[in-house]
Amino acid sequence: MSASSTTNGKTLKVRYFDIEENPTEHYLNAETGLKSWLFTVDHKRIGLMYLASIALFFFVGGVLALVLRTELFTPAENLMTAETYNRIFTIHGAVMVFLFIIPSIPAALGNFLLPMMLGAKDVAFPRLNLASFWIYSIGALFTLASLAVNPIDTGWTFYTPYSVQTGSAVILMTLGVFIMGFSSILTGMNFIVTIHKMRAPGMTWGRMPLFLWAMYATSIIQVLATPVLAITLALLIMERTLGIGIFDPALGGDPVLYQHFFWFYSHPAVYIMIVPAFGVISELIATFSRKTIFGYWAIAMSSLAIAFIGSLVWGHHMFVSGQSELSTVVFSFLTFFVGIPTGIKIFNWLATMHKGSIDMKTPMLYACIFLFLFTIGGVTGIMLGAISVNVQLHDTYYVVAHFHYVMMGGTVMAFLGGLHYWWPKMTGKMYNEFWGKISAVIIFIGFNLTFLPQFIMGSQGMPRRYYSYIEQFQTMHQLSTIGSYILGVGFVIIAVYLAHSMFRGQKAPSNPWGARTLDWMTSSPPAHHNFNYQPVLNNGAYDFHKPIADFTLGIAEDDHGHEHKGEPVKQQEQNA
């Protein structure tokens, strides 16, 4: 079959390509040996290495969370002293934020998917991409070293002057975070360039999958905000080692300045964590509703709007810090405007489900769980934005619960949905649908049992970061602890059936869900260079009213374009 496609006023000769099912050669076995992984420049392999790393750190952070919840089962000392408790909640927070959730969707799923969704062979700078992974690994080693030396006890926020005065290994830890920041910046830059320059012929901005719009918005925040974190941590390290007074009042510094610097990065950082999740949810809901996404441009632009407004609201972490009342009022006002684009997204997703053909597979189940939990996370954010109420709720368990509803109920649920959705593409194997749904339900129950009681004890006045507590909070703490164990069981089940599927799972077809984006227009697992043809787009990413075959168009003659220079001969033979 052949056809022609007009793009940018240029007409390309295109034809339909067949996608090979269950190929014997693919990116996983194109090369073998440890070196072929550690020094690969293949974005898919780098994505998988990130996936393995973040799975490890999620496990570490998760076990620490269970240890904390066990200690809090009663107000008395159960497992550890207050000092140990303080170190463990700090490590839980720092590991989950800097080592797990920031790289989770962008670095793991993003690396694997972004070039494929664009119809490209790799990211714009493959070697830089590998460097990002190594920088991340070195940063992680520094943080692990700090645990071996003298585990940090400042909370993941490293507030001064405590972080200047404590005897724990603050410098090693912050150096680790500092280094990992560069990984984040370089990945963001790589993705921005890739999206601008490497889109397949015919992929206009309006035909890009919404996951890519989300990654684009995220990358912009990463590139613009992360340097401020680096500056802040560098200043903190200088203060500790050289005694330069910047943040510590004892040296003539100002602790509120530290908080401004820290949140100038760390508030946008929560959008680094959640915006990619929005992208995943857009893909899941469109595919499993088999329906054109409702309000494509509204969803795409709301990601950018969130990135923009989200950069102007950091002061809402500091309503009672001693910043001026005027700042507090302005930051409160701006904060509410993040709610508008976020609400728009939720309504658009619901409208997409309306009149769809909904297939409640595990990824879609996670998308629905996301909608429910993230809505709770969102409306409690509005609660915290209201200044007078914030005074009561700030630094209580209400904030802890809100943060976990957004980050875990939001990002982690979207990540799990995405992981199941793209699992067949990554591994070439199907996961077990029955156990997938069972564990999703267990996680949903465990999650709510863990964190709903925290809202209540928080508004009742239970402060966060408390090793011990007064007796009136005990019932809520115990419910929360039991919930966390249920949550843990859910994750163990996932680990077991995913591991099982890798070795014993059914072989996955190239497009098990009937999706329309380019990442599915290649075999499962994909070829070494993603596609055995140069894809060309004639349709939008969510044109479910058109047959799938319309989405496998490629350049008819593959040897005239510069894209194919230097490619192995084998590759061309497969195309023929």
């Binding site: 004892a250 709610g339 489900m353 609660m383």
Partner: protein, 317 residues
């Protein structure tokens, strides 16, 4: 309704608490309506539009301007209401009446001192008259870290910093005892840094003031003076009197016990050792405890006060 209110919030005991609660409930109710709506939509769509066959087709609906404007404008109106409401109450929370009763608050790791206009200094207890605006002028001790003063029942919270003053005010609406917490993480004794705000009738408060002013610290027996200092100076944040281990070793049974130190040496905890370890706490560090006790007690406590603390510890056998 009252049951629901008490489930979510502690009783409202200051003049502005009721306003804060009203906004809290308003946001909760609107949120609940939204959440229920969204949940019903998810469940209803999932069932009604479930996939019946692999050949299902769906209509092409790209957008609907009316609908999209609606779900942009309604939330916009709601957030403006919530902002205005929160702002209005915040102005009240930050504007103490001119004739307020002023209390100086000093926080340190890990305790609180409250100094009244008449010179009474309280430790880890704040006594105030009912129906009187109380303005708190607050600071963390020089060289100390951040703390935060939080009284849930008053809906009051404010951070304290070294080298800078911050302010807060409240007017209690009825007598009672209300717990306060430290809500800015400050280290090992953070969760022990709580105390009680005693709100008294004016008569009772006047009687209490008279009692306190009449007390002559120099005439107190040493052990009683030590007990007073134990709370006022914040010793109890780290050292228990019941044998339990906190940030530092317990005082119970400490006198004449053999202590092991991180440098490998041992020593009997006699009077000389006890005073030494208050004045120069970092010279000999007990095995199993962090080396983080403040070093300024030698300057801030008089000889008699140090003796008082030692006598107090000696009685805890």
């Amino acid at each position: 309704m009252e049951y629901v209110t008490n489930f979510f919030l502690p009783s409202a005991e200051s003049t502005y608490a009721a306003n804060v609660d009203a906004l809290f409930h308003f946001i909760n109710i609107v949120s609940l309506i939204l959440l229920v709506g969204i949940t019903i939509a998810i469940v209803y769509f999932s069932i009604k539009y479930r996939r019946k066959s692999q050949e299902d087709t769906t209509p092409l609906i790209t957008h609907n301007t009316t609908l999209e404007v609606t779900w942009t404008v309604i939330p916009l109106i709601l957030i403006l209401i919530v902002f205005g409401w929160g702002f209005n109450d915040y102005v009240e929370m930050r504007t103490p009446p001119a004739d307020s009763y002023e209390v100086y608050v000093e926080s340190f790791s890990f305790g609180w001192n409250f100094e009244h206009p008449n010179g009474i200094v309280e430790s880890n207890n704040l006594t105030v008259p009912v129906a009187t605006p109380v303005r708190l002028i607050m600071r963390s001790r020089d060289g100390d870290v951040l703390h935060s003063f939080f009284v849930p029942q008053f809906r009051l919270k404010q951070d304290l910093m070294p080298n800078r003053y911050t302010y807060a005010w409240f007017e209690a609406i009825r007598p009672g005892e209300f717990v306060y917490f430290c809500t800015e993480y400050c280290g090992g004794g953070h969760s022990m840094m709580n105390g009680i705000v005693h709100v008294m009738d004016q008569d009772e408060f006047d009687a209490w003031t008279e009692d306190e002013l009449g007390r002559d610290l120099d005439a107190l027996p040493l052990a009683e003076l030590g007990q007073l200092l134990y709370t006022r100076e914040g010793c109890q944040g780290c050292h228990s009197t019941d044998g339990s281990s906190r940030v530092g070793p317990t005082f119970a049974g400490l006198y004449m016990a053999e202590r092991e130190f991180t440098d490998g040496s041992t020593r009997i905890a006699d009077e000389d050792y006890l005073i030494e370890s208050i004045v120069n706490p970092r010279d000999l560090v007990n095995v199993g405890y962090p080396n983080n006790m403040p070093t300024f007690y030698g300057e801030t406590l008089s000889e008699r006060e140090l003796m008082g603390l030692v006598e107090f510890i000696k009685e805890l056998q």
